[in-house]
């Protein structure tokens, strides 16, 4: 864990925050005020409201008209109907004032209440009096004057007060409106000022953010560049390490073939296994950089899964034995079923999972179960499960173990294996997972889609130990001294006749000067590279040019296609696999006898000799290898 210090995520209370909150409060207050003003206006518009001055004037006017009518009636100028109509109109006015909602505001006029109550109370009295003796105009007029005459004074007072009340209310409303609007204006000024201030701050922050973003992208570019540089360095270093390592492995193999001493056999075997492991680690690093740089490619072949499992278990058998573990294999696949996928990558995955199981289990049982079964949507899945009875993995680490550089409590290994394993499985279109209980063990499983066939793949060439290439004349263009040593030993053992060219130019000259059955051409060489040399040979010897096979350290399929397009008849990758080389030569020269017929099986069944010493040939080989490694170091 490389957790940094905990980052403070809580927003800080800056003066700006406080200011913003205050401005927001002002804005909310102003908005509330504006809404209340709007609601007041809305109510004023929709609430029926008579003008109080007009209403006060009207009741007074109707009363006056009634009094005038009474005087006219007394003087005989109008009849009883006319005065009755005046009286009824007056009464209707009084009743409207009493009943109508529109006159609520009238109650604020001093004396209005008393006047209205008096008028309302008088109506039944007058009605009764008229009913009892108001049949002629004079009598009617007397009754009206008698009962309602006294209302003249309060009516006038109310009319006058209505004017002052209305004007006072109007003044009050205006003052109130002025205060409200003043507050609104002040709020608006505050809000506008604050908005200008905030806009300024925001613009400044945007500018800062922009600068920050630019800095960040520069930093990101630098980080990516540094990561790329690191990947390039790792890739370069791994590549450089592979060449001497492969030489070591090749030499050890030769020593194994040539010795008859059991002790040396054992020592060379241990050294070989160790070199293999070291090579595996370097390959892991190389794989990681390939994943990072996106150069992870696959090469599909058809093979029997049972054979693959057998190979893997036999490679790891001694390691399991060392730790007291039993390895049980269960294969649930119909016999003779072949699958097509990347065999080498799958082997890498199996070695990794089984190796981990052995590494984290002591005196236990490891079960490897493989099956070929139909999956969803017409696909066929190769399912593999590796169960151990080891230390187990806590649930919270189930995801992390597939990350890079993770190690479960120990410090051996680079911690790259599972991350590469997952990468391989996922790039093959499969899934990988783990179920585990600490203390009880772990079960790693994966499944990858595969193509299935019943036809056996082309039988792999059975490597012969000796003299399979007797009579074959080869030209080898290879600038690297170590590689020359490795292949020299191989070809000598197989009885081939061969010459070395140290660069492309030499290769062209030698190919033209002498007749070779086949040319093995390294690609990257000084002076003239392999492809240029190929073109030159074909140009100058035409149809009589011997077939040229590319020797390349790059295992990328796209490179192979490029070489074939340039005229190479085949590609052999370095480190040179003896079987592959023999099979290629057999195919190119149409000489199936190279890979068939009786031969000496591997490992070499050489009877043990008494003296535990290197033969002179072995000593020579080791010494030349060491000197070659020296030369490599001295090379610029």
């Amino acid at each position: 864990m490389t957790d940094g210090p905990p980052i403070e995520h809580r927003p800080r209370q800056t003066p700006l925050t406080v200011f913003a909150v205050a401005v927001l409060a002002v804005a909310i207050g102003a908005a509330a005020l504006a809404i209340s003003i709007y609601l007041d206006l809305e109510r004023a518009v929709t609430t029926p409201r008579e003008n109080i001055q007009w209403a006060a004037y009207q009741i007074q006017a109707e009363h006056m008209r009634l009094m005038l009518a009474a005087r006219d009636a007394e003087a005989g100028r109008i009849d009883v109907d006319a005065i009755d109509q005046r009286y009824q109109i007056f009464v209707s006015r009084v009743l409207i004032l009493r009943d109508g909602d529109a006159y609520a505001a009238m109650h604020s006029i001093p004396g209005y209440e008393a006047m209205l109550t008096r008028a309302v109370d008088l109506i039944p009295v007058v009605d009764a009096a008229i009913a009892g003796g108001g049949q002629d105009a004079r009598a009617y007029a007397d009754i009206v004057q008698h009962h309602l005459g006294a209302l003249t004074e309060p009516m006038q007072q109310v009319a006058l007060k209505a004017v002052s009340t209305a004007s006072r209310e109007q003044t009050e409303q205006q003052l109130q409106l002025r205060d409200t609007v003043f507050y609104l204006v002040v709020s608006l000024i505050v809000i506008v000022a604050a908005a200008i201030g905030l806009a300024g701050v925001t613009m400044k922050q945007f500018a800062a953010l922009d600068t920050g973003r630019r800095d960040l992208s520069v930093a990101l570019w630098r980080a990516e560049e540094s990561s790329r540089a690191k990947s390039r360095f790792l890739a370069g270093m791994s590549h450089e390490m592979r060449t001497p390592l492969n030489a070591v492995i090749g030499m050890l193999r030769e020593i194994n073939y040539r010795t008859s001493d059991n002790g040396i056999h054992r020592l060379a075997g241990i050294a070989h296994a160790s070199a293999d492991m070291l090579c595996g680690l370097v390959d892991d690093v190389l794989d990681t950089t390939r994943i990072e740089t996106g150069k992870f490619r696959f090469h599909n072949v058809t093979f029997d899964p049972a054979v693959l499992v057998e190979e893997v278990t036999s490679v790891l058998a001694s390691r399991a034995e060392d730790r007291g573990n039993t390895v049980a294999v269960e294969i649930e696949a119909p016999a003779g079923r072949y699958v097509t996928t990347d065999r080498a990558r799958l082997k890498q995955v199996l070695v990794n999972l089984l190796g981990n199981a052995i590494k984290y289990t002591a005196d236990g049982t490891i079960t490897l179960r493989a099956s070929v079964a139909p999956g969803a949507d017409d696909t066929t899945l190769l399912r593999v499960m590796v169960a151990d009875t080891g230390i187990g993995i806590p649930a919270d680490q189930h995801e992390r173990i597939f990350g890079r550089f993770f190690q479960a409590g120990t410090n051996d290994g680079l911690g790259l294996g599972l991350s590469i394993t997952r990468e391989i499985i996922e790039r093959l279109g499969g899934r990988i997972g783990v179920d585990s209980t600490p203390g009880e063990g772990s079960t790693f499983w994966f499944e990858v889609p595969v193509a299935v066939s019943d036809t056996a793949p082309k039988p792999a060439a059975d490597p012969r130990v000796r003299d399979r290439l007797a009579g074959v004349r080869l030209l080898l263009a290879e600038d690297n001294a170590t590689n020359r040593q490795v292949i020299r030993l191989l070809l000598e053992r197989q009885g081939a006749a061969f010459d070395f060219a140290l660069n492309g130019e030499q290769a062209v000259a030698m190919a033209l000067a002498d007749a070779y059955d086949l040319i093995l051409m390294d690609i990257n060489m000084p002076v003239m590279d392999g492809l240029q040399a190929l073109a030159e040979i074909q140009r100058r010897s035409g149809r009589s040019a011997p077939p040229v096979v590319a020797l390349t350290a790059d295992a990328l399929a796209e490179d192979h296609e490029r070489f074939r397009a340039a005229g190479m008849v085949a590609c052999v990758t370095k480190p040179i696999d003896e079987t592959e080389l023999l099979a290629t030569i057999a195919t190119v020269l149409r000489r199936p006898d190279i890979v068939s017929g009786d031969g000496i099986a591997l490992p070499p069944a050489v009877p043990p000799r008494a003296e535990a010493q290197l033969t002179s040939g072995q000593r020579e080989a080791v010494l030349s290898l060491i000197s070659a490694l020296h030369d490599e170091e001295d090379e610029p």
Binding site: V45, T46, T47, P48, R49, E50, E62, R65, Q85, Q88, I89, V91, S92, L95, I96, D99, G100, D101, A102
Partner: protein
Amino acid sequence: MSKLWTAMRGAAIAATVTLMALTAAADPLPAPTGTVILEVTGAIANTNADGKARFDRAALEAMATSELSTSTPWTKGVQHFQGFPLSALLSVVGSTGRSIKAIALNDYSAILPVEDSVAAGAFVAVRANGTAMSVRDRGPLWIVFPYDTDARLTTDAYLNRSVWQIKELVVD
């Protein structure tokens, strides 16, 4: 909502107007036999006196086939009015004017623009809550609007047009 109401009301009134117009064309305006309650003068085509259309209570009651229920700013509770739309009356008298001056018993008067008032649902009430309106109850005739249906109708403009104790209409 109120716009919809207005539109519906407009449609109903239009239908009524057409019906009344047909009736009016068929019969000349009969002369009143009882006390004249309403006189319509001015720009009208159908008359039953010298340039006047005069109506007694019987004639008005005969026309009072519509109803309007609404509260008003001057009364308590919802009033159930019977009467006729102003447009119906205008069609009976063959009005050609664009405004009406409504004159009350106390000589108060207000001007009603015809088009706007008809569209707002101006209604001439002859009876209130089942009985003829006395002068005391703002009778004999009262121009009311369906105040409850549209807040606009309780603004000053329409309150001022709500003339009660009507005795005369002058079409201009």
